[in-house]
Symmetry: C2
Amino acid sequence: MKPVKVGICGLGTVGSGTFNILKRNADRITGRLGRDVIVTQVGARRDNPACDLAGVDVTRDIFEVARNPDVDVVVELIGGYEVAKELVLMAIENGKHVVTANKALIAVHGNEIFAAAEAKGVSVAYEAAVAGGIPIIKAIREGLSANRIDHLSGIINGTGNFILTEMSQKGRDFADVLKEAQELGYAEADPTFDVEGIDAAHKLTILSSIAFGVPLQFEKAYTEGISKVTPEDVKFAEELGYRIKHLGISKLTEKGVELRVHPTLIHESQLIAKVDGVMNAVAVHGDAVGDTMYYGPGAGSEPTASAVIADLVDLARTFDAGNNARAAHLGFQADSVSDLGVLPVEEIETSYYLRMQVEDETGVMAKITQILSARGVSIEAMVQKEAKAESKATVVLLTHEVKEQLMNDAIAEIEALSDVDGDVTRIRAEHSE
Amino acid sequence: MKPVKVGICGLGTVGSGTFNILKRNADRITGRLGRDVIVTQVGARRDNPACDLAGVDVTRDIFEVARNPDVDVVVELIGGYEVAKELVLMAIENGKHVVTANKALIAVHGNEIFAAAEAKGVSVAYEAAVAGGIPIIKAIREGLSANRIDHLSGIINGTGNFILTEMSQKGRDFADVLKEAQELGYAEADPTFDVEGIDAAHKLTILSSIAFGVPLQFEKAYTEGISKVTPEDVKFAEELGYRIKHLGISKLTEKGVELRVHPTLIHESQLIAKVDGVMNAVAVHGDAVGDTMYYGPGAGSEPTASAVIADLVDLARTFDAGNNARAAHLGFQADSVSDLGVLPVEEIETSYYLRMQVEDETGVMAKITQILSARGVSIEAMVQKEAKAESKATVVLLTHEVKEQLMNDAIAEIEALSDVDGDVTRIRAEHSE
């Protein structure tokens, strides 16, 4: 069969990995696919010394790749929103398939991009956009197609998980570990996207759509970062049998889809609580299969390129057959996508970890528990310790599930008590089943 | 589009699950696929009260399903070798696709069955044959297609993992837990297939072929069961920081493929060591992606049916496109499958846990370590405890990697020492990296 002709746009971390693996593992890839996959053009602002570009058609104009008649599939690895979107839409317009690792692009502009691709009869594949080398898009869209999927949760930002793992294992504080992560190259100079949960929310938005059959609604996602998590909270959580992870959680409820990224207590008996360092994992629950989990490296040159190339191979298999032979872009046919909205965070129901400093005298706990119980909040576990300051105590509570709005009201009332000093720290918790 | 017409053969645990999910989740399945999946005939020796068969064409002759012109895909869920093989070959002969959950059939007769299917231009899908609801066949054949996969290991028998988990967590012995597993329905009345590793070897054979591109060679697999694992070994392993799991291990080496199922010490820091109870997990290492792991229920009615239906949906997408639009049966095109054989177990290199009872007197350890070091075996860790019997001691050693033949020789020589009582217990170990 004729070779598959690939144009790679962007020769940075993932682009160079893609280029190099296609060369190194050509025999394996051809062995699986039954035809060669060759790079006919590379579009990049500059060469990358990691790649031997001898004999390769290199252009400084990425748009040339999108117009090149000798390219079947455009691989978009330049990142960002505007130029990437223009490139992808141009490739589609020229009848080319697209493979991208760009989570921000898909989460924000995916609805528009997929509509354009479907109108043109081409496909935009994006396995590499979520959880790096883990084939999680494939698992959800194809592997679990029998299921009514009702919730998923994931550690989908390696930087954040590295920081929390170090805080847990070495008792270090956030700022200290972040600095090291930046030195190691795990975190960007501007770490906002990673530590504030924006990157995770991009990925969660995509997972939520393909799992539940709802449109991409990134702008409605709730995000809360890990910069306020303290070593003290990590330690208290562990005393209660929990780990703190930066989790992306999405659940299907009758009233809407929960779509939220925040620090989360997870019971240590759950496998996902044991996923440490820069590794990613996504747990998916379906009504037929039950609990499943997918684990692997969520970033990096070759892990991400592994997903890019898997998409290339899948696309090549169905070049002649067309989009009907492939899973729908967002997992469901257009007429089966529901318009279920995202549930405001005040409406979610979850458990909470609360930490507060109180006057160490009788009657304080009675006031606090009464405020909680007046809103139907029952307490699952409690720890009380002498605080550093004289005649103060630190109280940590773990509650059962309650609607967030009621918890907000209770916290406001507790903070107003004269026996309680300062703010109440609140971290959401997922109970083991 | 026209509905997909399915004939289900066998209405036991998995057959009833398949039938019921197809009905219950019809909207989701159609929403993903873009066409209905309907059961046009069921072949079963008897009705199953778990299924509402009103209006369904039921036959007592399963072969009628394989001949039925109103059936596009035959789902083989009767199990066993001979009749199942006859049924599958008849379905292929009649131009029908086949979906099966039958690991024994595929591991033993797969080469023949796939050749017949390819000659006829139909496909035999078998996601449900390995690790139940976990989409592991898809992950390896498609999700990791960029990689040179070099090793994989899996907890792929839930019964065995349940027994070892109970032994570890409650200090119970093998026979005691096996009895409970039988009462709970986790283990068969004849537990041989599960506890002796035959079931796991069937699954491992399949995984090994699709990962490395070698033919199915079940008859060459090395299997060792868990019936001889004692609570004492479980406890010693844990003191050394390890768990004992019944692992299927397959590695690609230049001299051949390792294909072995046996009790294995795994360091507690590895995620797969924390997979407990009846759950399954498969860890796969590729040169590009690195370490990945896939976790979920490895058996049961609906988890297994989840995989059966995922295969149905995948097949239906490519009805018109044909086999070129699908991954090759064993992952690689026929001309890319190597004839690499299975390495005899004496040739593998691994680490070992050794336990022996010795006379509690000076000089014994010197003799033992000298026997080991003469064969290049170095010792990583050692525990010595007073044994119950007077003037005896129990010695536990953890070694570095050595060729199994050399270890066999060393053990024979140690057992011949007058200071060593009885046999040396030997359990292979996988070191964390």
